[in-house]
């Protein structure tokens, strides 16, 4: 198996049939209680009804706050976790229910790069053993050591460090080891689960460039997960935004940044520090409260308790944001009191005055509002619409 040769069959299929298709993917984690008989008392709705597809050669970014289900999605796609429901199709083959044993050949084509370069390498194995593991597991023929050293060279590591242990390397070098391992069997799809989040900014750029170079060289397809909006925009062709386990918006990278349709996306983009952002949104949109618990997600649109647009639709201004806009500071006690009032028993009563009924009752579908631009919102933003102004109106 040569690393440089590009499979002609896969490049022909490009852009026609998706390499990976995910439909209505859902994952609940049960919360159990009880001493002897463990009873399921609640469920964490980690990933809910997520659909997207990735075409060969493209990079799809997946962004969202911590705990929105990005990493769970990565683990579902790679079948490290078993989905509760939904369908995962890889290269036209349904792998949702495939057993781990039968998945083995599929794993050659689908790899994952992990977030923490310190935790994702076995501290008791040498680099040679770590990078050589894919060859041993899949019993490939040929000189494993030579292949491993070739991989190390390609990923910018010194092949002479073959016998060293991970603790002898820096974070950036370790992530290169992780990349080399993922690349070993020359997969078609690499799921990058926050591959640069644990690294220094200068090292981040190196790893991102390495990933881009490797993509060109080996015709790789990436599912790139990150909470860093700058990084995602830099690497992605298309971006999916997740909130509380659901995909709320999908669009081309530049389209999404310049013309966000979902109020959450707009708020998220406005939180990027100005130096790194050239988006049309200049004012920061401060959302009320915290992300609701995924154990008991809100009814209807899960963003509705915090949505400034929904309030604007009802003609109610959002006090918090307007005060912020005037430069006034809200004291911590006041903010806490507001959050408590909203999260309290009279939550629905309170919100019925502020939020339209369809936002509260019905889950918005991921609809195409423009060409190649999908959003799950009953009241998507107009092009150039300033959310801050909408809130004040």
């Amino acid at each position: 198996m040569s690393l440089t040769s590009v499979d002609p069959a896969s490049s022909e299929k490009r852009s026609d049939e998706p390499l990976l298709r995910v439909e209505n993917l859902t994952k609940y984690f049960p919360i159990r209680s009880g001493i002897l008989l463990q009873r399921e008392v609640a469920r964490v709705h980690a990933v809910e009804d997520v659909s997207f597809s990735i075409h060969p050669g493209e990079t799809v970014g997946l962004v969202g706050e911590s705990g929105c289900g990005k990493s769970t999605t990565a683990r579902l796609v790679t079948r490290l976790l078993d989905p509760t429901s939904g369908k995962i199709t890889f290269e036209g083959r349904d792998i949702t229910k495939t057993s781990q044993r039968e998945l083995r050949p599929v794993r050659r084509d689908m790899q994952i790069i992990f977030q923490d370069p310190y935790a994702s390498l076995n501290p008791r194995q040498t680099i040679g053993q770590i990078v050589g593991a894919p060859f041993r597991i899949h019993k490939t023929e040929g000189d494993t050591k030579k292949k491993v050293q070739d991989l190390m060279e390609r990923t910018g590591l010194n092949p002479e460090h073959y016998n060293r242990y991970p603790h002898e390397f820096s974070g950036g070098q370790r992530q290169r080891i992780g990349v080399a391992r993922a690349l070993a069997l020359r997969p078609k799809l690499i799921v990058c689960d926050e591959p640069v989040s644990a690294l220094d900014v200068s090292i981040q750029a190196q790893i991102l460039n390495l990933l881009e170079d490797l993509q060109d060289e080996f015709n790789l397809t990436y599912l790139f997960i990150s909470h860093d909006l700058g990084v995602v925009r830099h690497v992605s062709d298309r971006i999916a935004v997740m909130y509380l386990g659901r995909v709320v918006e999908v669009a081309g990278a530049d389209e999404l940044y310049e013309n966000p349709k979902h109020p959450y996306t707009a708020a998220l983009l406005s939180a990027v520090p100005k130096e790194h952002s050239d988006t049309s949104i200049s004012e920061r949109i401060v959302l009320q409260g915290d992300v609701p618990s995924p154990v008991d997600p809100p009814s209807g649109c899960s963003f509705h308790p915090r949505c400034p647009k929904a309030r604007a639709v009802m003609g109610k201004s959002v006090q918090l944001t307007s005060e912020q806009a005037e430069g006034g500071q809200v004291s911590l006690e006041e903010a806490a009191a507001r959050t408590a009032a909203r999260d309290g028993d009279d939550r629905s009563v309170d919100l019925s005055q502020e939020v339209p009924e369809n936002c509260r009752k019905e889950i918005p579908p991921l609809g195409e509002v423009q060409k190649e631009h999908f959003t799950a919102c009953w009241y998507p933003l107009e092009e150039g619409e300033k959310l801050q102004q909408a809130a004040k109106a």
Partner: protein, 329 residues
């Protein structure tokens, strides 16, 4: 004390490490790295030296008996050579280095033959206990669920059994006939002693291994290995097991001396190995009755038992420091 000492030595070892790593062009093998670190620990080296000395002594025991002293472990002294006029044994002298016991047997020869018994029982019983404990511990910690419940409760049951009472019971039962017990699987004599000791020492290892496995299986590199398509067996023994080396070594070296003492205790109680096989425990038991007139009968086997226990503990500490690659950070 040994631990404090080894920490001091480890600190001394640190300055030499980066230069070693930086200077080499060709990667060092894991064995070289381990040996480089182990050499720094002088106490462990002394301990290892004593163990090697003891092993050589016990291996060479028949040769020493034949050519140096000319007496076997069960040869009685002739013509009252080693007993005084009252029939009491004589203390150490030029011919009988460690003196004689009540039957006039050469205590030196009996002590080095006793080392054989102690080492065989200590090492074999520990090896069996570690093999059982590690296997069951990894399985319990890795698969969790009902497998874990079953194994953990078994551990609890074994640990809750009154150790000495059961040991005495099993040894007596198995020694009742020549066939032994469990369908002839466990023969009387040394095998039954090893069996009993292994039976009661695996649960500790299994518990420690299970606990460590539980934490290691959640680490990301296990997930990485699974994403590469590795099967359960590979993950358990290639990914998890190497991370258990340090605790396994530490607890093995802790139970080797414990098991040696266990054997001595059984022999002291008159169970253990047969009368004709020299054992430190039985020697101590014999000595207890005549300690006031024959101190050497207790001191020599006692000192050997103590030094052996200490040596294994020192080596265990040194191995732990050397095998942990993070020491060099």
């Amino acid at each position: 004390m040994a631990q404090v000492q080894s920490e001091v030595l480890t600190e001394q070892a640190i300055p030499t490490d980066p230069s070693e790593v930086g200077a080499v062009v060709v990667g060092k093998s894991p064995w070289q790295l381990f040996w480089g670190r182990f050499r720094q620990d002088k106490l462990a080296f002394v301990g290892l030296g004593f163990i090697v000395f003891l092993v050589l002594l016990s291996l060479g025991a028949p040769l020493i008996a034949k050519y140096v002293t000319g007496r076997g472990p069960n040869d009685l002294s002739l013509a009252r050579e080693m007993t005084n006029d009252f029939g009491l044994p004589l203390g150490p002298n030029g011919t009988y280095w460690f003196g004689a016991d009540r039957s006039g047997r050469d205590l030196f020869i009996r002590v080095i033959y006793g080392a054989r018994t102690s080492l065989i029982v200590g090492l074999v019983a520990t090896a069996i206990a570690v093999a059982i404990g590690v296997t069951l511990g990894i399985i319990a910690g890795y698969f969790r669920g009902w497998v874990d419940t079953f194994i953990s409760r078994t551990i609890d049951i074994v640990l809750s059994m009154p150790l000495l009472l059961f040991a005495i019971g099993i040894v007596s039962t198995c020694s009742a006939t020549r066939v032994g017990c469990f369908g002839g699987l466990v023969k009387p004599g040394l095998p039954v002693v090893i069996f009993v000791i292994a039976l009661f020492s695996w649960p500790n290892i299994a518990r420690i291994v299970r606990g460590n496995t539980l934490s290691i299986r959640e680490r990301e590199f296990i997930e990485a290995s699974r994403s590469l398509g590795a099967g359960n067996r590979r993950i358990m023994f290639r990914e998890v097991l190497p991370n258990l080396v340090a605790p396994i070594i530490v607890y093995s070296t802790l139970i080797i001396p414990t098991n040696i003492i266990f054997e001595a205790a059984l022999s002291f109680l008159g169970l253990g190995v047969p009368q004709t096989t020299p054992s430190w425990g039985r020697m101590l038991s014999d000595a207890a009755q005549v300690f006031e007139v024959a101190w050497w009968m207790m001191v020599f086997p006692g000192v050997f038992l103590f030094l052996t226990t200490l040596a294994f503990n020192l080596v265990g500490d040194g191995l732990r420091d050397a095998l942990d690659p993070r020491t060099g950070r």
